[in-house]
């Protein structure tokens, strides 16, 4: 059975190769090839899942060794896969949601002349992401890690002719590279400490080394996680990444790739468990990001960017949970999966709205769309209820558990983290209600006006301007797009309850991640009640502001916080001034110094050797050629001499 693991990756990889090398001949069928191979991978995943379920809990780790990747003395990196409950969960999420989004893209990208290539990149992404979660050592994981980075780069910049897309793609790759540097250093530290970076030996020997070492490794892993999962301080790329086509935002920048950081931390539980101070940093990063993302999400008028802020925030919850250690690992992954459902669904819904609105992304130019797009409205609405944690829906179960676990950490930390998580729940309810109201309720603000963006110089053109701009005629999307939305909506509604009833998810993952109950100062019921109150407050404020009053089409100036939040809380301005400008000055001065100083010294030496610099040029030219001729002659003589000697 374990021989099937490689096929999980091979199927989409084959698709990528065929679609990218195949050329125009495949234009007519390329998207179906891509979708089919994604579905094949999902099918294999289901077969393996059934096999795992048939085994006892401690027999559920399968490994497959393919070949030796980098064999150098003392350094052994193999292409070996490990399928256990944790990677199985990811495999199903990646291939399942992935297949749905492939299907959706068939409709969404229908009019794009480069659709075949788009599917090639999507398949490439699936292969890389599966490699990431199936790798049995950190170097192979790194391969997948940068592989998804590449796919993300290609897909964000899919509309390369738009400077905004090209810049966003490059930015995403670069910020991620900073994180990747952390992963590289972590691997080097592991190698220096354990002599290996394979999961098994690293985890079993984690106890043999000092806490300082483990903390260093853990912090470097956290840096990597921050890059990939858009956590503060490496979060700045995610908002810009919305330049990519919306299915990409749904699959890569919401459901799967951005959650890889959480996977990394949970996978490295053995390292983090031995490094409490690093864990504290993880929780702080998570808590800060969940608030940061939520605040940014409140201020954005671009529907995709509002959702991107939300993604950041929700991953903040997961990172927070992962930082709590065995109290939180399972819930981090559970929230990751339910978030995969509802956030992918929300993005697909947003894409469906844009599809019907001439690719307009400004929610201030939406309004009252529920009448025109009933399926989109209902599926988006269910996703909305799920994310704010409406009782009974997915987010209710998974988020509630995280808030509970945060309090259960105990002490002042527990109160602060738990408080932050509660506050985040209130803000989530606010910004999501805002999105919902602006898009589907209220006046039809798109009437009687072309939906071109206002000519503000600092506003990027709409993310996907392919059509011409006329008054939109909102309409429901074709079935190939609505079916995936419906499936994801079902997952958003039922997933949480299915996982939680009888603690199914907990029992499934516990053998890999371990689990412990903390000592919560609050009862589970109190936490739930508090969450509900926060939820209600958030919804109420949003209703007061966007439901009762008409919404202006042009955004009001807003408070200082609003304006800062629109600019991603000034993080980008900071980056621009310090890194971009500073870097430009540095490289320019170095270019100048290289020419004047280093080359100057060399030229000066040459000049002083040659006497007067005026004569040097003439001398050089004559010198070089005559020298060359004599050298050539000499070499020829020597060769001749060799031959003579050998003849003798």
């Amino acid at each position: 059975m374990e021989n099937l693991i490689a096929l999980l990756i091979a199927a989409p990889l084959l698709g990528a190769a065929v679609l990218l090398v195949g050329g125009r001949r495949l234009d007519a069928v390329g998207h179906w090839i891509g979708t089919l191979l994604a579905a094949v991978s999902f099918g294999i995943g289901l077969v393996l899942f059934a096999d795992l379920l048939g085994r006892s809990a401690d027999q559920r780790t399968l490994t497959q060794h393919l070949f030796s990747w980098i064999p150098v003395a003392g350094f052994q990196a193999d292409v070996t896969f490990r399928l256990d409950q944790l990677s199985m969960t990811f495999v199903l999420l990646i291939t399942g949601v992935g297949s749905l989004i492939h299907l959706y893209s068939v409709g969404y990208m229908e009019h794009d002349e480069r659709r075949r290539r788009f599917f090639g990149y999507l398949n490439l992404f699936l292969a890389a992401m599966l490699l990431l979660v199936l790798a049995d050592n950190y170097l192979l994981l790194y391969f997948g890690w940068e592989g998804v980075g590449l796919a993300s780069y290609l897909l964000i910049g899919f509309w390369q002719h738009k400077p905004g897309a090209a810049t966003a793609a490059k930015k995403a790759f670069l910020v991620n590279r900073v994180g990747d540097m952390g992963l590289a250093i972590a691997i080097m530290l592991m190698f220096a400490t354990f002599g290996t970076f394979a999961f098994g030996p690293v985890f079993s020997h984690a106890g043999d080394t000092s806490e300082g070492r483990l903390t260093a490794i853990a912090l470097m892993l956290l840096l990597a996680a921050c890059g990939k999962s858009a956590q503060v301080p490496l979060q700045s790329w995610l908002g810009d990444a919305m330049e990519g086509p919306t299915p990409v935002s749904a699959l890569i920048h919401a459901a799967t790739m951005v959650t890889a950081g959480v996977y990394l931390i949970v996978r490295s539980a053995a390292v983090f468990n031995g490094a409490p101070s690093a864990q504290l940093v993880v929780t702080v990063v998570g808590a800060v990001t969940l608030l940061f993302g939520a605040i940014v999400g409140c201020a954005k008028d671009d529907i995709k960017k509002a959702l991107a802020g939300s993604t950041m925030s929700q991953i903040g919850y997961m990172v927070l949970a992962a930082g709590l250690g065995p109290i939180g690992y399972v819930f981090a992954i559970m929230h990751l999966v339910t978030h995969g459902f509802f956030k992918a669904g929300l993005f697909l819904g947003a894409g469906s709205v844009m599809h019907g609105m001439n690719d307009e992304v400004d929610m201030r130019k939406y309004g009252g769309l529920r009448k025109y797009m009933p399926v989109t409205f209902i599926t988006f609405g269910l996703g909305y209820l799920a994310i704010i944690g409406f009782p009974g829906l997915s987010g209710f179960f998974s988020k509630d558990k995280i808030i509970e676990a945060a309090f259960a950490k105990g002490g002042t930390e527990g109160w602060i983290l738990g408080g932050a998580a509660l506050l985040g729940a209130a803000i989530t309810a606010f910004y999501m209600t805002r999105v919902m109201l602006l898009t589907f309720f209220g006046e039809e603000r798109w009437r009687n006006r072309p939906t071109a963006s206002p000519a503000e110089p600092d506003v990027e053109p709409a993310a996907e301007d392919r059509g011409t701009r006329a008054e939109p005629h909102p309409h429901e999307s074709p079935r190939v797009m609505t079916i995936p939305m419906i499936v994801l909506a079902v997952g958003s509604v039922l997933g949480g309850a299915f996982f939680s009833i009888g603690d199914r998810f907990l029992h499934w993952l516990e053998p890999v991640t371990g689990h412990s109950e903390g000592n919560s100062p609050l009862s589970a019921l109190t936490v739930t009640a508090a969450t509900m109150v926060c939820l209600a407050i958030g919804v109420a404020i949003a209703w007061a502001q966007y439901g009762r009053k008409p919404v202006p089409v042009v955004a009001p100036r807003g408070s200082l916080l609003t304006r800062a939040a629109r600019r991603d809380l000034l993080q980008d301005d900071f980056n621009h001034v310090v890194l971009v400008r500073g870097g430009e000055h540095l490289t320019r001065s170095l270019v100048y110094l290289d020419h004047t100083l280093i080359d100057g010294v060399v030229n000066g030496t040459a000049a002083s050797v040659g006497g007067l610099s005026g004569r040097m040029r003439r001398l050089q030219n004559g010198f070089a050629r005559s020298y060359a001729v004599s050298m050539f002659g000499g070499a020829a003589l020597l060769v001749a001499a060799t031959l003579l000697m050998r003849a003798v």
């Binding site: 070949f67 030796s68 990747w69 980098i70 064999p71 150098v72 003395a73 003392g74 350094f75 170097l139 790194y142 391969f143 940068e146 780069y153 910049g157 390369q160 002719h161 738009k162 400077p163 897309a165 090209a166 810049t167 490059k170 670069l174 590279r177 900073v178 990747d180 540097m181 590289a184 250093i185 080097m188 190698f191 220096a192 400490t193 354990f194 002599g195 290996t196 020997h205 043999d208 080394t209 490289t587 320019r588 170095l590 270019v591 290289d594 280093i598 080359d599 010294v601 060399v602 030219n621 070089a624 020298y627 060359a628 050298m631 050539f632 070499a635 001499a641 060799t642 000697m645 050998r646």
Partner: protein, 523 residues
């Protein structure tokens, strides 16, 4: 006597060079095909070496030894270890591609005159250079090595100065001035290095009484040849200086950007992918074996210089306006990695450095040759003159992206393997330097992707709107190299297996063992 395979591999291109040069002016297409056939023949011989070489066997194999200048004990001694085999393979592999890529480079120099034969000259010089590079990889006699180490400057000088790049923002005259400046600068730099090395070579003879690498190394290993510490250090410095110029190591690097900028892309590939490798190769073969103690003595300084090269080269690459100059500075950064790997003196570092030499050759060839195709279409080397090329020439842009990704060491492509090995190998012994060098991977992403973004993406510039995509000949050059980059990124084992035993030998020469992992050391 068995067939002298190593000699044949060097003699074939040498004879081919003479034959190519002798082709009549009117038959210049025939000269091209002749040269290409010779380079393919050489590749076949190199493959034979690869097949005949037994990684588990003696250190130097396929050896040949003849007395030559008996009075000075100079011998014609050849032999290859795994490192040399890998680099001969790289050289023989790249030359045919370089020729194909530069198929028309000399055409523009044709005047129609019956006596002036630039095409023949161009291809003959490439073959002559190949012969000299190959024999430097094979020579196990220090003097023999020295001769060809120096002699290869001559064909290269003419290739840079005579057949340089004509695309210049300030016109043909400025191009010509720049070209001769670059050629002379290249020559003087390397001659200076060579002269100092010559003194050291003579000094070595005085001390050791022999030029034979194997004899001296053996005598040093069994203690029968003692060198005073000072003497060893001076001799080491003499050798190292020449190699560091050729490699090139900061701050001896300033000739490379000029030389690569002013050469046509194929010649630039020969410079950085092949000729410069002789420098790093010679550090491994001569510096470490002949002067193990001095090598260790100099290690801290060399590592710092290598680190500076990595960061400095990358930062300078970020700041360039000229495509080829950018690639040149990127190469300086990569040479920093190679030298760092060599002097970290760990198995991972040195195996990584050797693989790096091969992989860097491949990745730079892809990037530089495609850049050359691009430049020949638009007639400009300036990055700002391009934009939106992916829209009109998607295959060119796609392969250029693969080259860029290889340059930034993306996993899955060959350079990642070597770069990571070098980093790990350095880190286990010098953690601070290893971590600092890791910043190089961020900067590499910056200069590679900025280059791609500025030239290939965005709105299509008017001047590039009619640009044709890669032609068949160009695709024949690029596709196999891309395939090789991917293959060696996923399955580097064949090359690693050849290289590893040689690295083990070299490490035992310098009496170094890998640092033990902390967990094991504690037990």
């Amino acid at each position: 006597m068995s067939f002298p395979l190593l000699t044949a591999t060097a003699v074939l291109p040498a004879v081919g060079a003479i034959a190519t040069a002798a082709v009549p002016a009117a038959r210049r297409t025939a000269a091209k095909w002749l040269a290409l056939a010779v380079s393919l023949g050489t590749l076949a011989l190199a493959v034979t070496i690869l097949v005949r070489f037994d990684p588990g066997g003696a250190r130097y194999q396929l050896t040949e030894s003849h007395s030559w200048i008996a009075a000075f004990g100079v011998r014609y001694e050849l032999g290859v270890d795994g490192i040399a085999v890998a680099l001969i393979g790289l050289t023989a592999l790249l030359v045919p591609f370089v020729m194909l890529a530069g198929w028309h480079d000399a055409d523009q120099l044709e005047t129609g005159s019956r006596r002036w034969r630039p095409t023949q000259g161009f291809f003959a010089l490439i073959l002559a250079l190949e012969a000299m590079v190959i024999i430097s990889f094979e020579a196990t006699d220090v003097f023999l090595f020295y001769i060809f180490f120096e002699a290869m400057l001559i064909p290269l000088y003419f290739l840079i100065g005579g057949f340089g790049d004509r695309a210049h923002e300030h016109g043909e005259k400025a191009a010509s001035t720049q070209r001769s400046y670059a050629a002379v600068k290249f020559l003087l730099y390397n001659l200076a290095g060579g002269l100092i090395m010559l003194a050291a070579v003579i000094g070595l003879y005085v001390v050791a009484g022999s030029f034979s690498l194997t004899e001296i190394a053996q005598a040093r290993a069994n203690g029968s040849l003692h060198m005073a510490t000072d003497v060893e250090r001076w001799l080491f410095l003499g050798f190292f200086f020449a190699f560091a110029v050729k490699a090139p190591l900061w701050p001896l690097h300033t000739w490379l950007p000029n030389a690569m900028q002013e050469s046509t892309a194929p010649v630039a590939v020969l410079i950085t992918a092949v000729v410069d490798k002789v420098g790093t190769f010679a550090m491994l073969r001569f510096c470490l074996q002949l002067f193990p103690e001095a090598s260790k003595w100099a290690t801290p300084v060399i590592l710092v210089l290598a680190l500076i090269s990595i960061i400095y080269g990358a930062l300078l690459a970020v700041g360039q306006r000229d495509i080829k100059r950018l690639i040149a500075y990127a190469s300086i950064s990569h040479f920093g990695f190679i030298i760092m790997g060599i002097f970290a003196m760990t198995s991972q570092g040195q195996s990584g450095a050797t693989l790096y030499m091969v992989n860097h050759g491949l990745s730079t060839a892809v990037l530089m040759l495609i850049a050359g195709f691009l430049i020949s279409r638009r007639g400009s080397r300036l990055i700002a003159d391009y934009g939106g090329v992916q829209k009109v020439a998607p295959v060119l842009a796609g392969t250029f992206l693969i080259g860029s990704l290889a340059t930034l060491s993306l996993p899955g492509l060959a350079p990642f393997v070597s770069e990571f090995l070098v980093l790990v190998g350095t880190f286990t012994r010098y953690p601070a330097i290893g971590i600092a060098a890791t910043f190089g991977i961020v900067l590499a992403a910056l200069y590679s992707l900025v280059l791609y973004q500025r030239t290939m993406t965005g709105p299509v510039k008017k001047e590039v709107s009619a640009m044709p995509d890669l032609r068949v000949r160009e695709l024949v050059v690029v596709a196999p190299l891309v395939v090789l980059l991917i293959f060696l990124g996923v399955y580097p084992k064949p090359v690693a297996d050849i290289v590893n035993p040689a690295v083990k030998q070299t490490l035992s020469d310098v009496h170094k063992t890998d640092p033990k992992p902390e967990v094991e050391a504690a037990k």
